[in-house]
Every structure is written in structure tokens, then in C-alpha cells.
């Protein structure tokens, strides 16, 4: 690449190593960027909707992921192109904020880019296209607000929540038991939700998985599940009405942090030291006993002597429990984490109705259930499944469902799925386009057309005639002025999404449109790409 030449045609050296750099500018740069963005969207397009397909991705060290979650696919693809990376981040940010609709947002952005290309071919300035898109997105978001409906639900009547979560799960591999999974997700969210502040801390929901059993065995535990067993095989496997001491100090003689040395020069001294050590163990166990603990959960390990002593004194114990789990146990049981034996008091003990160790099938693996806790603000979803990939995918699906439930608690509004919302927006945007003077009008119409691509992809993936189906639904919506008609992906026989109970959250849909517009604007605004040729 050379920026300027002297009178003999020799290039000036203006940039460092400029002969190794390449430069793409003007309309070529935009075309190349659009092509890259479209390519990413094309990959995800077939994953959209209940009949969408999964992708199998092999990581650099041979681990295999099978998923149809947009954010996960893009994350694992490890793309190199900068524009493609923007699409990945787009999907990721939808994932962070909403948790669901990660495929839809990319498909939407891809469609917008495709339409933008057409406008560029017509000679419309890219910024004006982007500005038109921005106007259109505002119209669409407002229209969504208008057609949205409020859902009334409370702790006892959570059916609407379940229905919405089922819509999310229906596009996943686990849709076989979407009903039960959706219920689990909703119950879990309701258990930890702060309905007054409309806030849900998803950190309080722990998702554990174990290979084996059926997907149907997946359960919700009102309490904590720890992948640990009792420190001694002979300790009781079940403790009712447990008082739990949660310790962050090890069961061993305390060590000063300062460098120290104990000089032993006589046998007597050695004897005293040994006795003292024994006494320490004894005292520690005694302290736990004294405050009335019936179970000890320890962040660190303890050596065999302590273990034996605990066993002897009939005090069951669990060792090497991680910090995060320890915290969750403390929250669930209403106990306090105790850093020192001297600080143990009966008030600091956590209380749980039932602690039991459960083994699975023929394997030797055991897990510890801590249930009926004093404060059930921490729950665990325990997933079973035939293989690891299945469990991982289920985890992701449940995460999506949890996010949807959380979003509904934050904002009760929903819109209808199955492409119904997109079609309604498309109609609204198309109608609004005529009101704008100037070139932007074309861009706004293009936006309306891009909105159609989501229902189109849905129809295509479901094996329907995309154009026919879409135009039929569109005319139906327009004729009856009802925004509930969508694509009948599952061939139920009706287009009415109210009857099919296909719902999506309003904020999720709005976010999709806004994010896609934002990223498309960013891509359209680039007219110069300067890179080292190896990229």
C-alpha cells in the first residue's frame, strides 16, 4: 500500500512497513465488511426457532460442544475477522443483558446488513442508511411497547411465566421435557426473587450436573447440593435437623504466620508438644460439640487424626468445600462463616432440616444434599442426562430460561413470539416510512424488510414455504389488525400465538432491535480498513 508517489513514481515511505500493509477503502471496504457480517449471520440462521438445528463445534483440544445457543456457537467459533468479531460481541452482549434471543439478534443484524448493501448499490450514503435504520428502530421499539401485554402473576400463579420459559426452551434440544424444565426454572427464580425490588440475583441459583440418569430426573432442590461426601465413610449418611458449623479454619493446630521455630531439646518437651497437639484436636472438636453443632463443614482439610476424632465423637464433617459453595450454604442455612474456633457460638450455626448423602446408580459417586434450610433463598438445579454434552447444553438452556423468568419479574410485559412481533413491527415501520422526507425513507423501508427475515427464517427452518407463509400471515395481521399472528412452526394448525402460548419478553425483543441497529451502524460507518497483510 502506498499513499503517495514522487515524480519518478517511487512511493514515499510514510507509514512504518507500509509495503506490508493493505488498505481497503470506500465502498469496497463497506462491501467487504458487510459480506463478513452476513457470513456470520448465515451460519446462525439455521439455528433459529423450534425447528432450528444444532451446531457441533470441536475446540482446539478436542472437546466437543453441541448447541444451538447463538452466543455459545459464536464464542466457540473463534472468529478472526474484525467485523465478524463485532457480531460475536453483539450476541454476547444480548446474552449478558437478556440471556435469551442471542441467535435472533445476529440474524436480525445480518438481514439489516443485507438490506444496507442494496441501498449502497443504489448510491445512498452509508451514514444516511444508518440514520434511517436508527429512526426505524425507534419506531419499532415504540410499536413493540404498544402491542405488548402485561402479564399478571404472583408466587402462587406462575403459569404465565412457565409458558414464556417454554417458548424459550422449545428451540433447544431439551424440548422433550420443556414443561418440567420450565417449571423448575420458574420455581427456582421465584424462590430467590425479591418481588418487591423486582430483582433476581441469579448467583443464588446453583446449577449442578451429573452424567447418568434421564433428563426427566432433573430436579430442583430447595437447598444446596455439594459434590462432596462425608469425610469418614462410617459417619452417618443422613442428619435430620442439622445444626451446621461453617468453618474457614482447618482442623489442625494453629500456625502463626510469622516464621517460627520450636526448639525441642529434651524428651519431655517433645512429649508436651505432642500432648498439646492432641489437646488442640480435642478442644476443637469439643468446641463444635459444645455449641451444639451436629455437622461441620470446613473449607480446608483435616488430617486423619482429626478425622478419626470427629468420627469418634460422632460429629459428621465435610471437608474441602469451595468458598463459593460455603457462602451459598451460609446464606441458605442462615448461618455465619466462622473463621476461628474461639468464635463459635450457637447463633452462628446454620440450620437445615435435612442433610443427606446420596449415591448415584452403580457408581461410587456421592453428593451431599442440604435441604429444608432455614432460609430457602438459595436453590440448586440438579441436571441429569445421558452424556456430558447433553448436560452442558441443558445447563445453557436452563440458563436461558432462568434469564427469561428474571426478565419477566423485572418487567411484566410480553410480546408474542413465532415472528408475530417482528411482522407487526415490520408493518408499523413500513407505514411510518412515508412520513419521513429525504433519503432516509428508503433505509426505513429496508429496515421493515429486514424485520421480515426473522419470521422468514423461522418458516424456512420449519420446512414451510417461507414467502407464502409470511405473506399469508402478514396479510392476516393487516386485515384483522391483530398483532398475534405468527408462524405456525410446530404445525399446530393455528397462527394465533395467543392460543399456542408462544411468548417472548418485551425487553428482550426491544434489546434485539436496538443492539442489532447499533452494530450495523458501526459496521456501515467504516470506510477505511488498514491492516497488516497477514490479517
Amino acid at each position: 500500500m502506498a499513499l503517495a508517489f514522487d515524480e519518478f513514481g517511487r512511493p514515499f515511505i510514510i507509514l512504518r512497513e507500509q509495503d506490508q500493509k493493505t488498505r481497503l477503502r470506500g465502498i469496497d471496504a463497506q462491501k467487504a465488511n458487510i459480506a463478513a457480517g452476513k457470513a456470520v449471520a448465515r451460519i446462525l440462521r439455521s439455528s433459529l426457532g423450534p425447528k432450528g438445528m444444532d451446531k457441533m463445534l470441536q475446540g482446539p483440544d478436542g472437546d466437543v460442544t453441541i448447541t444451538n445457543d447463538g452466543a455459545t456457537i459464536l464464542e466457540q467459533m473463534d472468529v478472526d475477522n474484525q467485523i465478524a468479531k463485532l457480531m460475536v460481541e453483539l450476541s454476547r452482549s444480548q446474552d449478558y443483558e437478556i440471556g435469551d434471543g442471542t441467535t435472533g439478534v445476529v440474524v436480525m443484524a445480518g438481514a439489516l446488513l443485507e438490506q444496507a448493501e442494496r441501498q449502497l448499490d443504489r448510491g445512498i450514503h452509508p451514514i444516511r442508511v444508518a440514520e434511517g435504520y436508527e429512526m426505524a428502530s425507534r419506531v419499532a421499539v415504540e410499536h413493540l411497547e404498544r402491542i405488548s401485554q402485561k402479564f399478571e402473576f404472583d408466587v402462587n400463579n406462575f403459569e404465565p411465566l412457565v409458558q414464556t420459559c417454554m417458548t424459550t426452551l422449545s428451540s433447544k434440544i431439551v424440548n422433550r421435557c420443556k414443561r418440567s424444565l420450565a417449571e423448575i426454572a420458574v420455581k427456582a427464580v421465584l424462590a430467590v426473587a425479591d418481588l418487591e425490588r423486582r430483582d433476581v440475583n441469579l448467583d443464588l441459583i446453583k446449577i449442578e450436573g451429573k452424567v447418568g440418569g434421564n433428563l426427566e430426573d432433573t430436579e430442583l432442590i430447595y437447598g444446596i447440593l455439594v459434590d462432596k461426601d462425608m469425610s469418614h465413610p462410617q459417619m452417618p449418611k443422613q442428619i435430620e435437623d442439622a445444626h451446621i458449623a461453617i468453618l474457614t479454619c482447618p482442623f489442625e493446630p494453629p500456625k502463626p504466620k510469622t516464621k517460627h521455630k520450636v526448639d525441642i531439646d529434651t524428651v519431655e518437651k517433645f512429649e508436651t508438644l505432642r500432648k498439646q497437639e492432641q489437646q488442640y484436636f480435642d478442644e476443637m472438636v469439643q468446641k463444635c460439640k459444645d455449641v451444639g453443632a451436629t455437622l461441620v463443614i470446613c473449607q480446608w482439610g483435616f488430617d486423619d487424626e482429626a478425622n478419626h476424632l470427629l468420627m469418634h465423637r460422632n460429629l459428621p464433617a465435610v471437608r474441602w468445600v469451595g468458598g463459593v459453595e460455603l457462602e451459598l450454604i451460609a446464606i441458605a442455612t442462615g448461618g455465619r462463616i466462622v473463621p476461628r474456633f474461639q468464635e463459635l457460638t450457637p447463633e452462628k450455626l446454620g440450620k437445615a432440616g435435612m442433610v443427606r448423602e446420596k449415591s448415584f446408580g452403580t457408581t461410587k459417586e456421592r453428593m451431599l444434599y442440604i435441604e429444608h434450610c432455614a432460609n430457602s433463598k438459595a436453590v440448586t438445579i440438579f441436571i441429569r442426562g445421558g452424556n456430558k454434552m447433553m448436560i452442558e447444553e441443558t445447563k445453557r438452556s436452563i440458563h436461558d430460561a432462568l434469564c427469561v423468568a428474571r426478565n419477566l419479574i423485572r418487567n411484566k410485559s410480553i410480546v408474542y413470539g413465532g415472528g408475530a412481533a417482528e411482522i407487526a413491527c415490520s408493518l408499523a415501520v413500513d407505514a411510518a416510512a412515508d412520513k419521513y422526507p429525504g433519503v432516509e425513507q428508503y433505509a426505513i423501508r429496508a429496515f421493515a424488510e429486514a424485520l421480515d427475515s426473522v419470521p422468514m427464517a423461522l418458516a424456512e427452518n420449519s420446512g414451510l414455504q417461507p414467502i407464502e407463509t409470511l405473506s399469508a400471515v402478514k396479510s392476516q395481521q393487516l386485515k384483522e389488525n391483530i398483532p398475534f399472528y405468527g408462524i405456525d412452526c410446530n404445525d399446530v394448525g393455528t397462527n394465533d400465538m395467543r392460543e399456542q402460548n408462544v411468548f417472548e419478553t418485551l425487553i428482550g425483543k426491544q434489546q434485539q432491535i436496538l443492539l442489532a441497529t447499533q452494530v450495523v451502524k458501526m459496521i456501515l460507518k467504516i470506510d477505511d480498513v488498514i491492516s497488516n497483510s497477514e490479517y
Binding site: L86, H125, I127, T258, D263, L328
Partner: protein, 558 residues
């Protein structure tokens, strides 16, 4: 006879490349113009962005002139001057970095035909200097003061300035939203010169409308130990203790060693150590503070201790954040927990831990001194937020400048057209060569409105002629007409609130003229041969500095 045998005098190291005279001057001008062409398209509301890979493979998408110039990694000695003026414009006023590069390139381009015709460059330089002085005086004369308005009114005016800057950026679609935010932030920190009191935090996710301003401090949740979740997460009017010590169980002295001969004393050592830390923690609690922040670690023991006493704590808070909390809440950072007097504790109306996207944030709002502000930026992609941050930085600088020297000029190329007209008129009163030069300087200033039109895809000649007609009106009512970016015609920039602080224009004209004069005054370049070692940077820096420097380097190496 002997003179014939005399060997050639070797003055420079072998392989040194020298070029001089007119050809050299012209080639420098060509190089500068080429660089100017790169940033040309980023000017104005319809300006485009550049995507630049640097040699480490990281990528930046930007519209900011200074950022682009920095990333282009220019080695040409003359063209490097452009990078410097862009940087100086950036640090001096923050905005107008593209303008300054464009003006410098255009001044040189106008000078080129004269140089080719054999005009001595010192003549050009003298005229350019006069022209720039005249231009700056004219800007000052045309500038409208916004001093003496009420706070509310002033805020509105400042927001207009910020919006003008932002309109050319990626976040231009939401310029009003961000402009008010920036103005609020700048007003909040008052006359204080420390820009670092405005924090910008980036959280990926959400859309830009989700960005918000905190009238206090916000920072990301720090690493926490077990027990943290049991601490209360919201306080009203809490006392805040700021520390710069570790609250951890550790040895007090690194190199100390304890020797025990009696095993029974063992426990006392252990107890002593625990007492030290408990003593510290007790003092923190006694001070009455409800929020404890430390720049160093707060260990698990302390976390649980505080949790038991309903106190919130955060360790390893970044120093900048801690200082901002200190400034906002009115506390002082303590290096010891002894003798904590109530005066060193800060306070704020509400402290809360909030979920922002995928991250949790500690937010202190309603601080008494109110001298800080934090902008939490949201956006769909990392690149997006990066660029948004750069844009906001520009806007903040502009608003600060406008607060200090409260004079504004109409943007959209209006002021440039007006100066151009003025200089043309002035040139006619001069007899001699200077008339031509000042005239060409005036013509060069028209590049701003011309480029604005070109970038927007309008017919530049057409628009420029309309503008010239308006500005030529005797009554002077057309003085504030500039390019109307929406219709492709012309409009009164002042009336449509396209404003920029006068200081931006003044600085841009000054810097661009300086750079042009500097390049015009160079008539010889000596380029040292490339050294084998990777000292390319140093060599490139010395290249433009003339003969003496070049030779000095060569000798030192021997």
C-alpha cells in the same frame, strides 16, 4: 598536482541519504497531503470511521483524528509533524483533531504551486503567519460570549456545544442524551482542574440508552471472599472509611522469626497474631463506618468479621477509584487504623451494590461535596464502547473549555467561511506578493465546509458558492451560515445550534499554521542508514532534525 591526489572529503557516514532543495520541499508537501487524505473522510457528522489493525494485531475502530494519526504509525519525518499537531490539539482542547490535520495539509497544498514557481518559502511563511494572526483576531471578534447567563441557560448552551462534537461520532444518534450527561458531569466537578474526577466505566451489553450518570462514584465489584454475600448491600447515609492497609491475617514483619523453647507458649504467639488483626478490625468498627474500602486486600477473616457486624467492605479497590471516593465523600485515605477521628470518614446519601448488565457495581451517590461524576457506558460491542469513550472524552474536554472561556462560534464551516472572506478582503489592501499568499491561505480555509459536503455526498462547489454569496453580503447577516448537513443546502449554524468553543478554532488555526510553516522551512533532509539493531524508532525521530543530529548519532555508535 597534489590537489588532484586529494581524496574526497567524507562528511557523512556511508549510506546516508540526503536530499535537498525545492524537490525535497515538494516531496514533503506531497507526503503531508497524502496523510491528510487519510483522515479527510472522518470530518463532520457524515464522516466515516477507520478500522486499523496495529502490528500487535489489535484493532481500533475510530473517528477521532488524533487516535487515527497515532495508530497509522507514520515514519515519514515531515508527515510526523502532523501527528504531533493532532496530539497537541487533543491534549490542549480535546476536539478538532481532524480539522487541524486537514487545515495543515490544505495550507501546504495551496503553497505548492508557489513553491514550484520559485517563490522563496520564507516569503510564504511570513504571509501565512500574518494571515493566521488576522484570522485568530477575527475569530475572537466573531465569538459570542455565553457568560453571565443563568445556570440553567448555560447548561443548555453547553449541551449544544457537546452535541456538535458528538454529532460526528458513532454515538451521534443519541447526541442529546449524551450531551446533557456530559454537561452534568462537567458541572458536577466544578472548577477543579482534575479531569480524572470524571470516571468513565465501560460495561459491555445493553444499548447506549442504558448508559447512565452517577453523581458520585461507581466502580466494579472487587474480588471478594466467602462471607461477602452476607454483608448488607445498601445503606442510607453511611459513614465511609477509606484505607490503604491490608486487613489480613499475616506476619507483621517479613523477616522476623520467633524461636520458642517452651511448646506451651505456642498458643500465645498464635493469639498475639490474631489479636493484632482483631484489634485493627475492632478499630474499624468502632469508628462507626458502615462501608470500608481499602486499596489493598481485605482478607476472608475481615470479610466475615464485617459481615457479622453488618458492615460492607471491598478490598483491592483501584487507586483512582479510591481517590475519587475520597474526593466525593469528603473522607481521607488512612494508612493506619489508629486514631480514626470522625473527620476522616466520608459519607454519601446512598450506597448501593447494583447489577449493571453482567457486572455488579458499587455505587456511591448523592455525595456531599459533589465534586465527582461517573459515567457508566453501555454498548453492544467492546469496540463500540471504546469508541464511545473516546467520543465522550472529546465532548467532556469541549464542555470544560467552553466553561472556562465561555465564547462560542458557529460551526458547520460557517466560521471558516467568514474568516476566509475576511482574509480575502484584507488581501486586496496589500500590495505585493503577500496578496497572493494570503488569498491562498483564505482559500485553504474553505476546505472545512468543502470536506463536510464531500463526506455527506453533496455537491461541494454548489454549496460553497451559496455560502460565499451569503458571507459576502454587506450587512453581515450571512456571517453565521454554514453547511446544512440534513438537506444539502445551507443554514444558519448559530440558529440551528451547531456551536463550537472559539478556543478550538483558535488553537486549530494556530497549530496548523505552525506546522505548515515548519514544513515549508525545511529544505534538506538527511537520513541515516538504517542501523541493524531495532532502533528504528530513535532513528526516525532524529531524521527530520537536520544534519548535526544525524552525524552525532553516527559517531556515538563507534
Amino acid at each position: 598536482m597534489s590537489s588532484m591526489m586529494q581524496p574526497q572529503i567524507i562528511l557523512l557516514k556511508e549510506g546516508t541519504d540526503t536530499s535537498q532543495g525545492k524537490a525535497q520541499l515538494l516531496s514533503n508537501i506531497n507526503a503531508v497531503t497524502a496523510v491528510g487524505d487519510v483522515v479527510r473522510t472522518t470530518l463532520g457528522p457524515r464522516g466515516m470511521d477507520k478500522l486499523i489493525h496495529d502490528d500487535k494485531g489489535s484493532v481500533t475502530i475510530s473517528n477521532d483524528g488524533a487516535t487515527i494519526m497515532k495508530l497509522l504509525d507514520i515514519v515519514h519525518p515531515a508527515a510526523k509533524i502532523l501527528v504531533d499537531i493532532a496530539k497537541s490539539q487533543d491534549s490542549e482542547v480535546g476536539d478538532g483533531t481532524t480539522t487541524v490535520v486537514l487545515l495543515a495539509a490544505e495550507f501546504l497544498k495551496e503553497a505548492k504551486p508557489f513553491v514550484e514557481d520559485g517563490v522563496h518559502s520564507q516569503n510564504l511563511i511570513r504571509s501565512y503567519r500574518t494571515a493566521s494572526t488576522l484570522a485568530i483576531e477575527k475569530v475572537k471578534e466573531l465569538a459570542v460570549s455565553i457568560e453571565g447567563k443563568s445556570v440553567e441557560e448555560k447548561k443548555g448552551l453547553l449541551a449544544k456545544c457537546a452535541a456538535t462534537t458528538l454529532s460526528s461520532k458513532l454515538i451521534g444518534g443519541e447526541k442529546e442524551f449524551f450531551a446533557t450527561m456530559v454537561v452534568d458531569a462537567v458541572i458536577a466537578i466544578g472548577d477543579d482542574d482534575r479531569l480524572n474526577l470524571i470516571g468513565i466505566k465501560k460495561v459491555p451489553g445493553g444499548n447506549m440508552r442504558d448508559s447512565f450518570l452517577v453523581d458520585g462514584v461507581a466502580f466494579k465489584k472487587t474480588f471478594s471472599y466467602a462471607g461477602f454475600e452476607q454483608q448488607p448491600k445498601k445503606f442510607l447515609n453511611p459513614k465511609i472509611l477509606l484505607l490503604n492497609i491490608e486487613l489480613e491475617l499475616k506476619s507483621e514483619k517479613e523477616n522476623a522469626e520467633i524461636r520458642l523453647s517452651d511448646p506451651s507458649q505456642y498458643q500465645s504467639i498464635v493469639d498475639a497474631e490474631w489479636n493484632i488483626i482483631y484489634d485493627k478490625l475492632d478499630k474499624c468498627v468502632e469508628s462507626g463506618a458502615k462501608v470500608v474500602l481499602s486499596r489493598l486486600a481485605i482478607g476472608d477473616l475481615a470479610t466475615q468479621y464485617f459481615a457479622d457486624r453488618d458492615i460492607f467492605c471491598a478490598g483491592r479497590v483501584a487507586e483512582a477509584d479510591l481517590n475519587r471516593v475520597a474526593a466525593a465523600a469528603g473522607g481521607t485515605v488512612q494508612t493506619s487504623v489508629n486514631n480514626i477521628i470522625p473527620e476522616v470518614l466520608g459519607t454519601c446519601e446512598i450506597f448501593e451494590e447494583k447489577q449493571v448488565g453482567g457486572e455488579r457495581f458499587n455505587i456511591f451517590s448523592g455525595c456531599p461535596s459533589g465534586r465527582t461524576a461517573t459515567i457508566v457506558l453501555r454498548g453492544g460491542a467492546d469496540q463500540f464502547i471504546e469508541e464511545a469513550e473516546r467520543s465522550l472524552h472529546d465532548a467532556i474536554m469541549i464542555v470544560r473549555r467552553a466553561v472556562k472561556n465561555s465564547t462560542v462560534v458557529p460551526g458547520g464551516g460557517a466560521i471558516d467561511m467568514e474568516i476566509s472572506k475576511y482574509l480575502r478582503q484584507h488581501s486586496r489592501t496589500i500590495a505585493g506578493k503577500s496578496q497572493l499568499f494570503i488569498n491562498s491561505y483564505a482559500k485553504a480555509l474553505e476546505v472545512i465546509p468543502r470536506q463536510l459536503c464531500d463526506n455527506a455526498g453533496f455537491d461541494a462547489t454548489d454549496v460553497l458558492n451559496k455560502l460565499r454569496q451569503k458571507h459576502a453580503m454587506q450587512s453581515g447577516e450571512g456571517a453565521s451560515y454554514g453547511v446544512d448537513i440534513n438537506t444539502g443546502g445551507i443554514a444558519d449554524s448559530f440558529a440551528s445550534f451547531v456551536w463550537e468553543p472559539a478556543v478550538v478554532k483558535i488553537n486549530a488555526i494556530n497549530a496548523a499554521t505552525e506546522a505548515a510553516c515548519l514544513i515549508l522551512s525545511v529544505d534538506e533532509t538527511v537520513k541515516n542508514p538504517k542501523s541493524e539493531s531495532a532502533q528504528g524508532d530513535a532513528a526516525a525521530g532524529a531524521m527530520g532534525r537536520g544534519r548535526g543530529g544525524g552525524r552525532g548519532r553516527g559517531m556515538r555508535r563507534r
